[in-house]
Amino acid sequence: MNDLTLSLEITALGMGLVFGAILLLWLMMVLLTLLTAEKEIPADEVPAPAAPEPAAVSQAGYKAQAAALAVAMALSEQELSSAHPLPEPPTAIVSAWQLGMRTRQSSEKGNFRRH
């Protein structure tokens, strides 16, 4: 059998297999979506843009809002940078201690404390 015939055969077989595999994938996706559908999940829980939308800033145009946003972003960035699933860096231990001490003080004084 020469190479041309062979290549035609490969084409027929290959495209057939590609379509076959893709059809199975379709089936798999339909089944997977059905089996794992969660009715109670609101639409916005689908991974949405994490960043605050810049459009909001320009629309509002108020300086105060911009400043508030900057604060929020700076805070969120700070939180982000200290978040990781492995053992936390040394400072975390110290600050946990400090937090503990302060919690004790504030609970004695009955202060409000967020978190």
């Binding site: 190479d3 041309l4 062979l6 290549s7 035609l8 490969i10 084409t11 077989l13 290959g14 495209m15 297999l17 590609v18 379509f19 595999a21 893709i22 059809l23 199975l24 994938l25 379709w26 798999m28 996706m29 339909v30 997977l32 979506t33 794992t36 559908a37 969660e38 999940i41 609101p42 639409a43 829980e45 689908v46 991974p47 978040a83 990781h84 699933p85 492995l86």
Partner: protein, 378 residues
């Protein structure tokens, strides 16, 4: 030691310089120019171009097996580590929810692989042996790592021209596709608006998808396992949301370093002797043909789906099924938007585009499987 004896040594760089080196250095400069000034896939064309430059400086010894480029080639291309690591990073950047919300779009990912086989036939007709023809065909996967992975297995001697063709044309897609889109679709078809009322895709679905897909494709096409599994590993790391450290590493450090080294190593195989021949020219032409054929097949299948659905599907999204993620998807949406500024088909096009990414990997695995079997390599 007298000066007459020394002179040949002083100008050895020039005396060993061949016309072929000059041509290849010109090619390297063109690649760097395209990357830097035309911004055509700069993360790959700049390192490839620079690697090519190094390969054509005589006696520099960087491409010998103990030179730096040789070390990188052995560590990451021969072992296929670099394309697979790049896929881990790419996987962490893909969102499959548009596809999962409209599963029928997956068919377009099959249609967009015709170019692979059409090019294979043409390559055979042009006299390439089967293993080389198949490797050239995979340029039609329109997916860099897949092309490199298959070529490394079947015809490593053609790796450089195949990689260059794959990446150069991929960045020319904004030039190649639009004329074909306008040629093969009517204005009425391009104006078709598509509803997008996706069912919400749960986080659980998005997490299970990469795992189940790896299993299904792995069992169906074992040869596609390395590629599909690394793509899905990256996707799982990202979607699980619990291993931020790892998915960030995949999206950044791992893919960046692998991309730089891959580009350099591939470029460094572009020496004059092995690159400057008629085969390279043929491959460049065949590569262009593969891109055109893929786009045409995708568009025609899009038209078929349009017809079958009673005109509810805009055939432009067929062109997004070729892979070339994510450019092809954006381009299809842009073309529809240019025709009618109120027509938004981006989500449908991205669904077809991610399907094309999957289809390309699967087709690459199938080709590898069938051709290995026929050549008795296995």
């Amino acid at each position: 030691m007298d000066l007459g004896e020394l002179l040949p040594d002083l100008i050895k760089g020039f005396t060993h310089f061949t016309f072929g080196n000059a041509v290849m250095i010109f090619a390297a400069l063109v690649l760097i120019y395209l990357g830097v000034f035309k911004e055509i896939e700069p993360v790959l064309l700049v390192p490839i171009g620079f690697g090519c430059l190094l390969a054509n400086i005589p006696l520099a010894g960087m491409t010998a097996s103990e030179g730096m480029m040789g070390v990188l080639y052995d560590a990451g291309i021969k072992t296929e580590l670099f394309p697979l690591l790049i896929f881990v990073g790419v996987g962490a950047m893909i969102d499959f929810s548009p596809l999962l919300a409209q599963p029928r779009m997956v068919l377009l990912g099959a249609a967009g692989q015709f170019g692979i086989f059409g090019t294979l036939i043409l390559a055979v007709l042009l006299g390439f042996p089967l293993n080389q023809a198949a490797s050239i065909g995979v340029i039609g996967a329109i997916d860099g790592p897949t092309s490199i992975f298959v070529a490394t297995k079947l015809a490593p001697e053609l790796l450089a021209p195949i990689a260059v063709a794959a990446y150069s044309y991929m960045s020319l897609i904004p030039i190649i596709q639009p004329p074909l889109m306008r040629l093969l679709t009517t204005k009425k078809e391009r104006l078709i608006r598509m509803e997008y009322a996706p069912k919400p895709i749960s986080k659980k679905t998005l997490i299970l998808f990469p795992v189940v897909l790896t299993l299904v494709v792995g069992l169906l096409v074992p040869e596609a396992t390395p590629l599909i599994s690394m793509l899905m590993l990256g996707n799982l790391l990202k979607m699980s949301g619990v291993v931020d450290r790892l998915s960030k590493a995949a999206e950044n450090e791992i893919i960046n370093i692998a991309t730089l080294f891959l580009g350099l190593a591939i470029g460094s195989t572009m020496n004059a002797v092995s690159f400057l021949n008629i085969d390279t020219g043929k491959i460049m032409v065949l590569g262009l043909f593969a891109f055109v054929l893929d786009t045409v097949a995708g568009l025609l299948f899009g038209k078929l789906m349009c017809f079958v659905s009673g005109g509810k599907i805009n055939p432009l999204i067929g062109a997004a099924g070729i892979s070339a993620f994510p450019m092809a998807g954006r381009l299809a949406a842009k073309t529809a938007n240019d025709e009618d500024p109120d027509n938004f088909i981006l989500m449908h096009a991205m669904g077809a585009n991610t399907a094309g990414q999957l289809g390309s990997v699967i087709a690459g695995g199938i080709l590898l499987s069938v051709v290995s079997k026929m050549l008795g390599i296995v």
